[in-house]
């Protein structure tokens, strides 16, 4: 586990080996899908090998226990009363970024900016004092990441 603390090692493992590693323990164990980061800028391939569902992605972005993207971002979701003011407005994120760039920014925005406030939604390691219920788990599943990517690409 200690070795995973280092981003360098992490990148080497993810980029080089292309293996899937098991992180979670217990019943809710989910396989952590390996992925390849291109030029520190994007993750070109879908984590699930399939395109996500934009309607489900919109739900994930709203859900406080899942993406909760609205905590920090403004999104074109008028039926939700509170939109955060922490990160940039994502209303046109789909024209600013490619799907691969969006995927990297959701999987682990710290690769783009190590100091960012935004959590890495698909990085179950390199964290401090994670509470028991969440240990070894990613915030979103690979499928949910793909759904959010699919949703954001519709925002033009």
């Amino acid at each position: 586990m200690v070795a995973w603390q280092s981003l360098g090692v992490l990148r080497a493992l993810i980029c080089g080996a292309g293996i899937a590693a098991l992180f979670a323990t217990g019943a809710a164990a989910e396989e952590f899908v390996a992925f390849k980061i291109v030029d520190n800028e994007s993750i070109a391939k879908s984590l699930t090998g399939k395109p996500g569902d934009p309607a489900r992605g919109r739900e994930v972005a709203i859900n406080r226990k899942q993406g909760n993207c609205l905590a920090c971002h403004k999104l074109p979701i008028p039926e939700q009363p509170f939109h955060g003011e922490i990160g940039p407005d994502l209303s046109t994120a789909g024209s600013t970024y490619s799907a691969g760039e969006l995927r990297l920014r959701i999987v682990n925005p710290k690769i783009v900016n190590p100091d960012t406030f935004m959590p890495a939604f698909y990085r179950p390691f390199g964290l401090h004092r994670v509470s028991k219920d969440f240990q070894g788990k990613t915030i979103l599943t690979a499928e949910q990441v793909e759904d959010v990517v699919a949703y954001l690409t519709t925002l033009k």
Binding site: F82, G84, I86, P119, L127, H128, R129, V130, S131, F134
Partner: protein, 267 residues
């Protein structure tokens, strides 16, 4: 006297608002703003502030009153009350709320007000320590700190306190939990910004113990720490842990100069 002074300050803040000046940045917050430091009061809703401004409306004053009663209550094998040693709290406790936590030589570490109270109970009164977050300990802490209301927070962070201050500081900047967030992400970088339905404040500690509308009761600063830790899906520390007492000193220094506001009212 002090109670009246703070209420007057609050009222003047309100007048400015009513006069049409923009909220927050341009509002004159009086004693609640010192340089770039702003009490949680200045981020609270108008109704919340007005509850705090009026001691008869402020539900936390019930805890302070209980503390006053306990102050005079004899308990324990030594047959003493707090008042037996400390007499009039308005005099003997005038400063405590502004200068704690302090370095405590016999233990070689910091202690906060709750811990000082329990030391007096176990050692001087030969009474049982009160449990953390019990009505008694919250009431006595609120009562003691209320004696310093209006005094600027002025903790000591040099000398033997220095290494503990450094640990508190480290805690403040350490990211934690599955959400990988540090205190500073919310309260230093984003004070004044909405995080979904919540307006982030500077996370100052000058009003604790605080009546939180969400809790429907008075709660300790360490309860708040536990809440902020759990929020980011981190394992919180125990209330009264060294980690939290060190953090308490760092926060007090971070809000140095803000008036003690206990008992504050917050959303």
């Amino acid at each position: 006297m002090r109670r009246i002074a703070l209420a007057a300050v609050a009222a003047s803040g309100l007048t400015v608002m009513l006069a049409g000046t923009a909220l927050s940045d341009e509002t004159d917050w009086g004693a609640y703003e010192v340089g770039d430091k702003r009490s949680g009061y200045t981020y609270a809703a108008t109704e919340t502030r007005s509850i705090q401004d009026d001691d008869f409306e402020n539900p936390a004053m019930l805890w302070v009153d209980t503390g006053q009663e306990l102050w005079d209550t004899v308990e324990g094998e030594a047959g003493k009350a707090c008042a037996s040693c400390h007499d009039d709290a308005a005099v003997s406790m005038a400063e405590v709320g502004a200068i704690y936590p302090v370095y405590y030589e016999p233990r070689g570490k910091l202690i906060n007000i709750e811990q000082r109270i329990n030391l007096c109970r176990t050692e001087n009164m030969k009474a049982k320590a009160w449990k953390w977050e019990s009505r008694e300990l919250l009431s006595m802490t609120a009562f003691v700190r209320n004696q310093a209301r209006g005094r600027p927070v002025a903790v000591k962070i040099d000398g033997p306190a220095a290494p503990f201050y450094e640990k508190g500081k480290e805690f403040y900047y350490q990211r934690r939990g599955q959400l990988d967030m540090a205190c500073k992400n919310c309260h230093e970088d984003n004070a004044g910004n909405m995080i979904r339905a919540n307006l982030l404040s500077q996370g100052q500690s000058n009003g604790f113990p605080t009546y939180r509308l969400k809790w429907q009761k008075v709660g300790s600063l360490h309860r708040r720490f536990r809440g902020c830790n759990s929020q980011v899906r981190a394992t919180p520390y125990k209330a009264g842990s060294d980690e939290y007492v060190n953090l308490e000193l760092f926060l007090a220094d971070r809000g140095r100069g803000l008036p003690v506001e206990t008992p504050a009212v917050r959303n």
